[in-house]
């Protein structure tokens, strides 16, 4: 893959994020909330409101406001929160870091669990273990996170059993074991749907690959079973899975919103929920934009990983 391809993909992402920024900005414009009122509270006099609106540029035409905002964003300045007065970018990126930790661990767990299960199901197609895995994955895909989370909470996280701390967040740098222990339940919850989804994917890809001519050819060459399974089948079956995983990152970032809320995990999802509840416009804008950009970058990474693994793809 060439440098110009990379450049082009990055430009595409930039364009995507730009459109997202317009959408998000547009949405925050029509939200039933007035930033000046938010800032001053309702004891404010009309003159004060006018003054603050002028200071914030709220009296300008929308497109000028947008340009002003995006200009600052491009320089790394997302503005300050109407609620806390803190710089929004800083707050959101810190939260994003934690969410990414949660997301990456969930992805890791998902891969470790889903691939072997998918392979087993494909190899034992039509038998009890396949049906069992299939049924479990159907249920897994169909359970909303908040149901899963609550089930996890009353079982593994139930203080009565004292198995695992159920909530909160401690930076791993402060207390590695404690921090990790607090990640277990959220990671578990987020992984359920992912695992269920990817198991089905791996299974169907694996079934397809096992039916290809080249796997049949490998069999007709009398190769050993492990060689056929790992070298010929699995490798090719996992390639399309990468793309699915990339798409799942979108789900992951969405699902994390609920999970973070329930497990009191201070990630970007919860920051966004709080921002939405408080109608804190700069925080909503920054959070949504950062999330979308993260998603777009994750997709690019998945593409690159795919290209690195699949020799057929040539990005010119």
């Amino acid at each position: 893959m060439s440098a110009s391809y990379l450049l082009r993909r990055l430009l595409t992402i930039l364009l995507t994020v730009l459109i997202v920024s317009m959408l998000v900005f547009g949405i925050t414009q029509v939200l039933p909330a007035d930033a000046a009122v938010m800032l001053l509270g309702e004891n404010a006099t009309p003159e004060q409101l006018v003054a603050v609106r002028a200071r914030l540029g709220l009296d300008l035409p929308v497109w000028q406001q947008y340009l002003g905002w995006i200009g600052h964003v491009l320089r790394g300045d997302f503005g300050t929160s109407l609620e806390t007065g803190l710089p929004v970018g800083e707050v959101m990126f810190t939260a994003l870091g934690r969410s990414l930790l949660l997301a990456l661990l969930s992805l890791l767990l998902m891969l470790v669990v889903a691939i072997p299960l998918g392979v087993v199901a494909a190899l034992r197609r039509g038998r009890a273990s396949d049906l069992g895995i299939g049924l479990a994955s159907y249920v897994g895909v169909s359970m909303p996170e908040f149901v899963t989370a609550t089930l996890v909470l009353i079982t593994l996280g139930n203080p009565a059993f004292g198995l695992l701390p159920s909530t909160g967040y401690v930076p791993l740098t402060e207390d590695f074991r404690g921090g990790l222990a607090r990640l277990v339940l959220p990671v578990l919850t987020v992984s359920v749907i992912l695992v269920a989804h990817v198991v089905r994917m791996v299974r169907s890809e694996m079934v397809d690959v096992l039916g290809t001519d080249y796997v049949r050819a490998a069999r007709m060459k009398g190769l050993s079973r492990p060689r056929i399974l790992f070298r010929h089948a699995l490798r090719n079956a996992l390639l399309p899975t990468i793309t699915v995983v990339a798409l799942d990152i979108g789900y992951l970032l969405g699902g994390i919103i609920v999970v973070e809320e329930i497990f009191a995990f201070p990630g970007i999802g919860r920051a966004l929920i709080v921002a939405i509840q408080q109608r804190d416009l700069p925080s909503i804008q920054a959070g949504a934009l950062i999330m979308a950009a993260t998603y777009a970058l994750a997709n690019l990474l998945a593409d690159l990983a795919y290209a690195a693994l699949d020799k057929r793809i040539r990005y010119a």
């Binding site: 080249y214 049949r216 007709m220």
Partner: protein, 535 residues
């Protein structure tokens, strides 16, 4: 019957899937150093037999009596584990499409190395050296470099050479070849076939060569077995099968094989003004991307066909041949307005500037039939609906009711009238293609463009379809632009033949004159490569 002891023998073998008997009482023997051709149409059971020999059958298969022996050992008595050591080492197999049978994520060298490591127990360096030698032997010029490539980085011919190298790597006693050249273009197929013949003679391997192509098989096999509905109906020396078939089925099969020496069309087209004339037609693909257009760096688009000039006279059959990607279908699509084009197109002297200028008169006069009837008939419409549509557009002849006109059309293509109620998936491939032809003839066209219309059909069906086309021409005086890769077929029917190569029209000549000393080098190579039937 040869008296030498058979390397591979199948003795009274039966196989069924549920109630369907796939193979019945199969008897075959291939002695050392010999090639047995196994010929049959699709569904005849030839591939089932190959996998039965390889002992790789689906769970639903039920085997009856009989034995399959390799050098006297009954393979049916082998365990799966034992078979894994026999496959690839004593009994090899070569598949039809090298692009599909090579693992796309494995380097080409690895495909040979893994066989040597497994069956010859070589160390990796030994296996690598041996592989390099093997690849050189199968005619790859830079074997070391080739070993490092991935399948998508090699041409079809190169890939099939690698597959053959892998098949011969462990020095098997017997090889099964399942249509090993079908996916390749004519010239490459010829080279692969020659390579196989050489290697076979050199190693003395016994080979079962499976193909639908009687002409091809008759040239490389000592004996030919003809399989039909799960039975071997004929098993005789190759020359005899072709020149003097014993069975009725074989006779029909042989008759259906196109032979350029047997012309099916005798009359010559009238010396009239051309119905369709193309002058310097160039067809380009794709369109400029938004970014390029904005950047103003519009690179010229790749051309599918360049500067092609053709004329078609009334009632003439003009054959267009060339390998896939040579631009023959591109021209066809441009002629019916599916692609834009540069250059001039004239219809009965009237200039047609582009797709937009193709009015009802032009479209009525120029009809097209596509290669795959599955794709060209809308699966959600009944045959009646499909046939009514051109009638609605171009008018129903002779004041017939729409229904009667549909029935008449079906009758013209020799289908029963009640087919009007059926849906495409209820018809066989040949019947579907007849419907497609009927749809084209509903307009009473002056020209029908036939774009590879027989290539997805079995040889006997193909012959019937060609018959039908010729009858229709007789009746309506229609001219055909007959696009095909089958030189034998087109030489039977075309008045003139156009040869295309990588987008260029390299030759346009009378059929009889084709391949003469004046001919283009590519034309001659093409003609040399085509297997013509022995006898």
């Amino acid at each position: 019957m040869s008296e030498a002891p058979a390397v591979l023998s199948v003795e009274g073998y039966d196989l069924s899937y549920g109630r369907f008997a796939a193979l019945r009482d199969i008897r075959l023997a291939v002695p050392r150093g010999q090639v047995l051709g196994l010929v049959g149409e699709s569904g005849s059971g030839k591939t089932s037999l190959a996998y039965a020999i390889m002992r790789h059958l689906p769970h639903s298969a039920v085997e009856g009596g009989g034995a399959i022996r390799l050098s006297g050992q009954d393979l049916r008595a082998m365990t799966a584990q034992q078979m894994r050591h026999i496959r690839g080492s004593r009994l090899g197999m070569v598949f039809q499409d090298p692009s599909a049978s090579l693992n796309p994520t494995l380097r080409l060298g690895e495909h040979v190395i893994e066989v040597l490591r497994r069956h010859k127990r070589l160390t990796r360096p030994e296996a690598r050296d041996r592989t390099e030698a093997m690849l050189r032997r199968v005619g790859l010029r830079e074997p070391a470099a080739m070993m490092r490539r991935y399948p998508h980085e090699a041409s079809g011919g190169e890939k099939q050479r690698v597959v053959i190298a892998a098949a011969f790597a462990a020095e098997p006693e017997c090889l099964l070849l399942d249509e090993p050249t079908t996916a390749l273009d004519v010239i490459t197929a010829r080279q692969i076939l020659e390579l196989f013949t050489e290697l076979q003679a050199e190693t003395g391997v016994a080979a079962l060569y499976i193909s639908h192509d009687l002409a091809l098989v008759s040239r490389i096999a000592q004996r030919v077995a003809v399989i039909h509905r799960g039975r071997v109906v004929e098993n005789d020396p190759a020359a005899q099968v072709f020149s003097n078939p014993r069975e009725e089925y074989t006779r029909r099969l042989v008759a259906a094989v196109p032979r350029p020496d047997l012309r099916l069309v005798r009359d010559a087209p009238a010396e009239a003004a051309p119905v369709l004339a193309v002058q310097g037609m160039t067809v380009r693909y794709g369109r400029q991307g938004l970014l390029q257009r904005l950047a103003g760096r519009a690179a010229p688009l790749p051309a599918g066909a360049r500067e092609v000039s053709l004329e078609l006279r009334p009632g003439e059959i003009l054959g267009v041949v060339g390998e896939s990607g040579s631009g023959k279908s591109t021209i066809a699509k441009a002629l019916v307005g599916l692609n834009g084009f540069e250059g001039a197109l004239r219809h009965e002297g009237r200039s047609i500037a582009g797709p937009a200028a193709m009015d009802r008169d032009y479209r009525r006069a120029v009809q097209i039939v596509f290669q795959h009837p599955d794709a060209s008939l809308n699966p959600r419409q009944s045959i009646g609906q499909i046939l009514s549509r051109p009638l609605a557009l171009y008018g129903t002849p002779d004041g017939l009711s729409r229904r009667d006109a549909v029935a008449a059309l079906l009758e013209e293509v020799q289908l029963p009238a009640d087919f009007a109620q059926r849906y495409p998936h209820q018809l066989s491939g040949g019947q579907k293609q007849r419907v497609a032809i009927a749809r084209a003839f509903a307009a009473r066209p002056k020209v029908v463009i036939c774009d590879e219309i027989t290539s997805s059909l079995d040889v006997s069906i193909q012959a019937q379809i060609v018959q039908l086309l010729l009858q229709l021409r007789e009746r309506f005086g229609t001219g055909y632009l007959f696009i095909t890769h089958d030189l034998n077929l087109v030489r039977q029917i075309a008045h003139r033949i156009a040869v295309m190569y990588r987008g260029d029209l390299v030759e346009l000549a009378d059929t009889a004159a084709l391949g003469g000393p004046q001919s283009h080098a590519y034309t001659r190579a093409l003609l040399d490569a085509v297997p013509t039937p022995v006898g």
